[in-house]
């Protein structure tokens, strides 16, 4: 919704809902790293829009060749709000939804075993990939490769990481495929569900209400019935 609705309303509404959810669920401070991770993107959005917004003439100030505009700044702040709202939504979702519950729920709703496996493996593989990268960096350092210092040195240090990472990942794919086959992964029929995620009436009503509200707002805005600031 933050991206669908133009202006301030969409991102501000999403931000308000997400921040309230974060406060209620007690994950307030833990979302901070997710917000910090958006900083490079946010800074580039602010700079590009404020200084290079196409067609904007309402200059704030002129400093040599630089001429930031009010229109550009407004667009930049709205875009920033959208990015932060999106990042916070992802953060609150991942911090409040255990992966096991997510996968079990998707499976019980009919997502096939391959779909569940792909999502689950993707989520859980992240720490493994980070660990592997760290092992390879240590191995490269032990052989005298400089992976610290100025940015150019760091880039040169990262390049030798790519080869082993890719080749080991490809090797692992074959081994994993065989291991899955050895555990009857391709057996026909439905997998047994052993974890049932509680889904009360309140949650179902709330989900439907949110879904319908989003649909109504989007349709109303597109059709012109609803004019948001």
């Amino acid at each position: 919704m933050a991206f669908v609705l133009r202006g301030w309303s969409g991102p501000l509404a999403v931000l308000a809902v997400v921040l309230a959810t974060a406060a209620v669920s007690g994950v307030g401070r833990r979302v901070l790293p997710f917000v910090l991770a958006t900083f490079p993107l946010v800074i580039s959005i602010l700079l590009v829009n404020t200084f290079l917004f196409p067609g904007a003439t309402d200059r704030i100030v002129v400093v040599g060749p630089l001429a930031p505009t009010w229109t550009g700044l407004t667009a930049a702040l709205q875009a920033t709000l959208r990015v932060v709202a999106f990042a916070l939504s992802v953060a609150v979702f991942s911090l409040t939804t255990p992966t096991d519950d997510l996968l079990s729920d998707l499976e019980s709703r009919g997502l096939g075993r391959r779909g569940v496996f792909v999502i689950g493996a993707a989520i859980r593989m992240v720490p493994r990939v980070v660990e592997r990268a760290s092992e390879i960096i240590d191995a490269q350092r032990a052989r005298g490769l400089d992976t610290e210092g100025n940015p150019w040195r760091r880039i040169r240090g990262i390049l030798p990481l790519a080869g082993p990472m890719i080749s080991s990942a490809l090797t692992e794919v074959e081994e994993r495929t065989m291991a899955l086959e050895a555990r009857a992964f391709s057996a026909p029929g439905r997998r047994t569900t052993i974890r049932l995620v509680p889904d009360g009436v309140q949650q179902r009503v709330l989900r439907w209400a949110i879904g319908l509200a989003i649909l109504a707002v989007v349709i109303g805005t597109v059709a012109g019935w609803l004019v948001l600031p």
Binding site: P98, T99, D100, L103, R113, V116, F117, G120, A121, R124, M125, P127, R128, E172, E174, E175, R176, T177, M178, A179, L180, E181, A182, R183, A184, F185, S186, A187, P188, G189, R190, R191, T192, T193, I194, R195
Partner: protein, 285 residues
């Protein structure tokens, strides 16, 4: 209990030749082997002798999963593996590979659920899954690890979990490719004891490729030596592991045999004969 030799082979390879995809050389070149229910057949040989390939072919994973060209016949429980689908193969032959990290599904958060992964794939009832998982964890002494994160285990623990994940499918045949390569001596003994229990119960045939000949001396009734994709010797573990040609084949003899040889070299009398070295060994179970 029926002696293994009188039982029908659970696994039989007849004239097996196999070539990996995009290669010109045969990895296996005329392999004949059989393993009966209740029997442990050890497979030894130098690196690149074809031990892993034998395991892949015996489990039906080659060529079904990895491609390549197979000649000859591979049977599990009397049925050709080429006629079986992957999930049917999984229930007849449990395969365990060298690297435990790639054998875990990576999609669950506890060891218990990891072991339950295979039975869930088969759609078994929850009661049966619980019974099988508890049995497999108990057999390998893993009951205390049930709630641990499988990605945070030591190499040895992960290998035991991978083994439990195969045993839980209760296959008639176990095909193990260096299952103790990442285990410490205590872990090796634990796995060896579990495998001996399984084989001793008379229902499971075990093919185990292993560099640790000390383990095979205690565990296997028969041993086959593989070199260059061919079986160059097969017989009772006492005979094969005490064979003078073992070193030439790139296989280290068990420590009991080496000690007796050193004593003989030093001029000390060797009575009883060399093969009696195995009489002194305690079985793993």
């Amino acid at each position: 209990m029926t002696h293994p030799e009188t039982r029908a082979p659970a696994l039989r390879l007849t004239g097996v030749r196999y070539q990996y995809p995009a290669t010109t050389r045969r990895a296996l070149d005329g392999v004949d082997l059989e393993v009966r229910a209740g029997e442990v057949l050890g497979l030894v040989g130098p690196n690149d002798a074809g031990k892993t390939t034998v395991c892949l072919v015996a489990a039906g994973l080659a060529p079904q999963s990895i491609g390549g060209r197979l000649e000859g016949r591979v049977e599990l429980g009397g049925q050709a593996t080429i006629d079986l689908r992957p999930h049917q193969l999984a229930q007849r032959a449990g395969s365990l590979f060298q690297n435990p990290a790639t054998q875990l599904s990576g999609t669950v958060s506890t060891v218990w659920e990891e072991v339950a992964f295979g039975p869930r794939n088969l759609g078994l009832t929850i009661d049966e899954i619980v019974e099988r998982v508890e049995w497999a964890l108990g057999l390998l002494g893993l009951a205390g690890l049930g709630q641990r994160d499988p990605t945070r285990l030591s190499g040895g623990q992960a290998q035991l979990v991978a083994l439990a994940s195969i045993l839980v499918l209760r296959p008639a045949c176990l095909i193990l490719d260096e299952p103790t390569s990442q285990l410490d001596p205590a872990g090796t003994r634990l796995v060896g004891a579990a495998l001996a229990d399984l084989a001793g119960a008379g229902a499971t045939a075990i093919l185990i490729a292993e560099h640790k000949t000390d383990l095979l001396a205690r565990l296997a009734q028969r041993v086959a030596v593989l070199d260059g994709g061919r079986v160059v010797a097969v017989g009772s573990s006492a005979d094969v592991l005490a064979d003078d040609r073992l070193a030439a084949w790139g296989v280290e003899a068990p420590s009991a045999v080496r000690i007796r040889r050193r004593l003989a070299d030093a001029g000390m009398a060797l009575d009883p004969p060399l093969t009696a070295a195995f009489d002194d060994l305690e079985p793993v179970a």
